[in-house]
Symmetry: C2
Subunit: 126 residues, 2 copies
DNA sequence: CAGAATCCCAATGGATACTG
DNA sequence: CAGTATCCATTGGGATTCTG
């Protein structure tokens, strides 16, 4: 693993910094929503996620879940019913990520008025 | 303001949720880097930001700073020297955002090995 | 030095139709 | 039901050039 990158040498100003990769993923359109939804409801089936998360398309739901599964954030369980039943659950890693995401969401929520004000003033003084 | 959106009614699963706007911005390529850089160094001039943040282009630096300025996260100061001197500083709002961002970065840093492992295993079982 | 203005390519993501 | 495969519009973002 750490052949060309020694721990402790990571610098956020470098493109390769893993922090950027994680934040980039978090910041995409649907990831945070999927995580938050799973945190709130626990295990959900694909169709349930799709109906709870308003506006998400089949494609983006699947794509987002695949990414999260690959990163070890969600677990995908398949029951061999007919038709097949697929459910998703946050892993322990996913739960800890959900907590961190909640911090950001709380910040956004707490400061939304301040931001809106700043925008209004900025836009007024164009 | 809150004419069609009553406080407390925000739902993260709705596209209009301000949380998503903020997270979306945080997640873009350069915003987090600019914030972290300003947090680390304090006030910086445009050129300094450009040389510290490796790989950023003139266009993206300016664009990112404009967004942050509009949201009240950074303050832009112009000194009427010749040629003009422009410096950027995090506002109190920006400092609190930097702290929240640091939480995410810490999470990413603490779990990067776990994520890398999960990816390796996932990719192996394709 | 700081930044505005173009041009242009690659990645996101939406809509739709199809498979097991 | 869950997922894949296309097609396509929009956007993000890089390279370059120009101005005060």
């Amino acid at each position: 693993m750490d052949t060309d990158q020694v721990r402790g040498k990571w610098d956020a100003t470098k493109g390769a910094c893993p922090t950027r990769q994680v934040l980039g993923r978090i910041g995409d359109t649907w990831t945070m929503l999927v995580i938050s939804t799973l945190e709130k409801h626990g295990t959900l089936r694909s169709g349930q996620l799709k109906s709870v998360i308003e506006g998400i398309t089949q494609k983006m739901l699947t794509q987002t879940l695949r990414h999260l599964e690959r990163d070890g954030v969600v677990r995908r369980d398949v029951l061999p019913t007919v038709p097949v039943t697929v459910s998703y659950t946050l892993t322990p890693l996913g739960l800890s990520l959900a907590a961190a995401v909640a911090t950001m969401r709380t910040w956004a929520y707490d400061h939304m008025d301040e931001i809106a004000e700043a925008r209004d003033e900025y836009d007024a003084n164009i």
